[in-house]
């Protein structure tokens, strides 16, 4: 009751400030308000949904969606844009947490099975989606006339983007529900592997698209690809090693230092053209596997630092969900989403059977692969930016899919974690 009252009061205050002022403020003026509102109200909505056995993340998303520009407009468009500023930091922090959770020694016995599952499921998903888009081309809404090679290129890029998973949501859900166990580890390993494959596939397919549409293609393709993958790991590992030294020899204000490290990776990452997610993952891996800190200081810092970032990140994602895109091509999006889920279900089960992963986990692992988020959106923005005519159509479809998968994915994955009995086991393991 107290929480509901506090939520009502918070919404009332912000509604009064935003609506009562009757003026549109420039961006920096709205950021703190958006931040405070999201932190309190989204956290309360998440806690409320948890009572109904739904993920808190879904609560944060729903809050953003309801209060965002498309529904109640309490979080106005400038506010939603300003909240996006935290995205870079959030993705890095989330990936860093994922790295900390991946103990190579512990994963070694299952590494082969994980690779087999990941490879088979990704291959199946790519092939299935490519075939489906090729056959369903007339219904996808591309009005222009394309040559066969151009059509192949568009279908290939659409496949690469639609097949992507969301490491961010997976990691966030594991961190938020304090889950630990074979399902969490398997899902995490597969989404990270898929992310590596996605970067590789997207870069190669984009070169093919450029060739198909009369571009010259990038001569330094392999160099840039190598830099993006290996450079990210090298940069992240260096930062991780420095952070490990800090933890060992200074060990003060760890939460502040952690956020600073993430800000460095996020900030320098874009300037150095490296993939921040991979860099942060490498940093976390180094800290966990090479120089693990003594005691609980890092664990506590991560717990304290992660929640506010997750709350704002998902509230911002909810506020930015383009519901108008979903309304525009709703049926196509629903069909494609259903097809994607069916393919994930089929090939995950097939991969699990081949890799001899025990049935309860093997049957449920597909449920952690449905979510899509920032990485997918980022890739479509690249396509739409380079090819505004047909790229915009790809963007509209993918944005609609993200809206659907953002809502369905976390619910499914949490249900799987609950059925596997892994929720809350992170604390039990570390205790």
């Amino acid at each position: 009751m107290r929480r509901l009252l506090a939520l009502a009061l918070t919404i009332g205050v912000v509604w009064f400030v935003v609506g009562g002022a009757g003026i549109v403020r420039p961006a920096p003026r709205v950021t703190a308000l958006a931040l405070g509102f999201s932190l309190i109200a989204a956290a309360l909505t998440g806690a409320l949904l948890e009572r109904f056995h739904l993920p808190r993340v879904t609560g944060y998303l729903l809050f953003g969606m309801l209060c965002g520009p498309y529904v109640l407009n309490i979080i106005t468009r400038p506010m939603a844009r300003e909240l996006q500023l935290i995205n870079g930091l959030a993705v890095v922090l989330i990936a860093f947490i994922a790295g900390l959770e991946m103990n190579i020694e512990r994963l070694r016995p299952r590494l082969r099975a994980m690779l087999q599952l990941g490879s088979i499921s990704m291959l199946g998903l790519y092939a299935g989606l490519f075939a489906a888009f090729w056959i369903g081309w007339p219904w996808l809404g591309f009005d222009e006339a394309f040559t066969t090679i151009q059509k192949t290129a568009i279908v290939a890029i659409l496949t690469a983007v639609v097949a992507s998973y969301s490491p961010t949501v997976t990691i966030a859900l594991i961190a938020e529900s304090r889950a630990s166990g074979p399902l969490s580890e398997l899902t995490l390993a597969v989404v990270i592997l898929a992310d590596l494959i996605l970067i590789l596939a997207f870069t190669l397919v984009m070169q093919f698209v450029r060739y198909a549409f009369g571009g010259t293609g990038d001569v330094g393709l392999l160099v840039s690809l190598s830099w993006e993958i290996f450079g990210s790991f090298a940069f992240g590992a260096t930062v991780g090693a420095l952070f490990a030294l800090y933890l060992r020899y200074v060990g003060r204000e760890v939460a502040v230092a952690l956020v600073a490290v993430c800000a460095i990776i996020a900030g320098l990452g874009s300037q150095l053209h490296i993939e921040p997610l991979l860099a942060a993952l490498a940093a976390g891996l180094v800290v966990e596997n090479i120089a693990p800190p003594r005691g609980d200081m890092l664990k506590q810092a991560v717990e304290r630092g992660a929640l506010p970032v997750l709350v704002v990140f998902f509230a911002a994602a909810g506020a930015s969900l383009q519901l108008d895109a979903l309304a525009l091509i709703g049926w196509i999006a629903i069909v494609v989403s259903a097809l994607r889920m069916a393919l994930i279900w089929i090939f995950m089960r097939a991969g699990a059977a081949y890799a001899r992963i025990a049935p309860p986990i093997g049957r449920m692992v597909w449920m952690g692969m449905v979510s899509q988020a920032g990485v997918t959106l980022g890739l479509t923005l690249i396509v739409a930016g380079e090819y505004p005519t047909w790229g915009t159509m790809v963007q509209t479809l993918v944005v609609s899919l993200i809206a659907l998968h953002q809502l369905i994915g976390p619910v499914l994955f949490r249900a799987a974690l609950a059925r596997a009995g892994e929720i809350g086991r992170m604390d039990a393991t570390s205790a």
Partner: protein, 372 residues
């Protein structure tokens, strides 16, 4: 329970006496380190903190201002039996405002200095910035005079923040009258504080962190959105928490203690980076330091007369160190009047550095330890 409240109030008050809060030696006030550092890093120096970064820091500054307001609100709200001390502090602050404001106004008029902000408002703002003070940190074993000075330093920030709420609205030139804007800040602060009061006690761990951080951001953000004072909104919330039933004040105090060091550093570095040495700022700086010192000494003497037998006659000498509130208020003015407040920020910041140096000479040090 009472002891605990008073302890947290005193600990928060120590933030305003920032030397101790940052664990620095008395000769190394943070103002003297981080203001010049900010200037070196800022657009006027190496440009490591560029104008874009400063624009982003502006967001954080609103939250920092609200947090400082909460610090002062709690520190003031917990000193329940300090009626005479509160009166003395207000008198001391008011005299400083009059001396600095009066001197500045006369000088501005006689110089005929062009200014984007009316002369009277510039004078009033400088007076308000000057009236905040930060006596040295005290412990249980310190002499009584120093403890009294520390409590006066805590309380003399209240009046400038309240008056400053109205002044800020006048400078912002919005549609809301100054008095209504100050009332709006207080009302918003109280409403958000009630929301916090409902949340803090029953939350735990990281969730409580989220609520405290969110509440502070909401305090700063809503005030910034309406061009009202985040300091006043924070003060209002802090005072309400200090007097609310339960342990809200204790919860907030515990959380704020963890962030006090980064907050002070961030504020000072941002202030340093925002400094632009203009002719007007340089002209205002010397009279500001001189009149502030005079105002503090006169105000301290007058306050000691009001609280005869409680405060010492040399109270003013203990109140020379300016702390961070004056700089915080100047930055707040800069947010609403980006061009007009440049000389004010320079005069107050440079004045703070010199006042800290002056305090090393003027302010009585702790008694020598008794020889064994």
């Amino acid at each position: 329970m009472k002891v605990r409240f008073r302890t947290s109030g005193r600990t928060l008050g120590s933030l305003l006496r920032t030397r101790a809060a940052l664990g620095l030696r008395p000769a190394m006030a943070p103002v003297m380190i981080f203001l010049p550092l900010g200037m070196v890093l800022g657009p006027a120096g190496t440009r490591i903190i560029g104008t874009d970064a400063l624009a982003h820091l502006d967001v954080v500054i609103s939250i920092v201002l609200a947090t400082l307001g909460v610090f002062i609100g709690i520190a003031a709200g917990t000193q329940r039996s300090a009626g005479r001390l509160a009166a003395a502090s207000t008198l001391e602050a008011a005299i400083t405002v009059l001396v600095v404001g009066g001197a500045t106004y006369l000088l501005l008029r006689s110089w005929g200095m062009p200014s984007l902000v009316p002369h009277a408002l510039v004078a009033l703002v400088l007076g308000l910035c000057a009236s905040a003070s930060a006596a040295a940190a005290v412990g249980e074993g310190d002499e009584r005079t120093r403890r009294i000075a520390a409590r006066v330093a805590d309380l003399d920030d209240v009046m400038p923040i309240v008056v400053g709420g109205g002044v800020l609205a006048s400078i912002a030139a919005g549609e809301t009258p100054a008095l209504a804007a100050a009332g709006l800040s207080i009302g918003l602060g109280a409403a958000i504080a009630v929301s916090g009061w409902l949340l803090f006690e029953r939350a735990e761990g990281a969730e409580r962190d989220v609520f405290v951080l969110g509440t502070l951001a909401l305090l700063g953000g809503s005030a910034a959105y309406l061009d009202t004072s985040p300091l006043l909104a924070g003060l209002s919330a802090g005072m309400l928490w200090a007097r609310a039933p339960g342990q809200t004040e204790h919860v907030v105090a515990t959380h704020l203690r963890k962030v006090q060091h980064p907050l002070v550093v961030l504020l000072l570095v941002t202030a340093g980076a925002s400094l632009q040495p203009t002719l007007a700022g340089i002209w205002l700086f010397a009279p500001y330091v001189v009149s502030r010192t005079a105002g503090k000494l006169i105000g301290g003497w007058a306050a000691s007369r009001v609280t005869s037998g409680v405060a010492p006659s040399d109270l003013g000498a203990y109140l020379i160190p300016p702390g961070v509130i004056g700089i915080a208020f100047a930055l707040n003015i800069l947010q609403v009047a980006p061009d007009g407040a440049i000389p004010i920020v320079f005069a107050v910041s440079a004045g703070a550095v010199v006042s800290e140096l002056l305090a090393l000479i003027v302010t009585p040090g702790p008694p020598d330890p008794t020889p064994v």
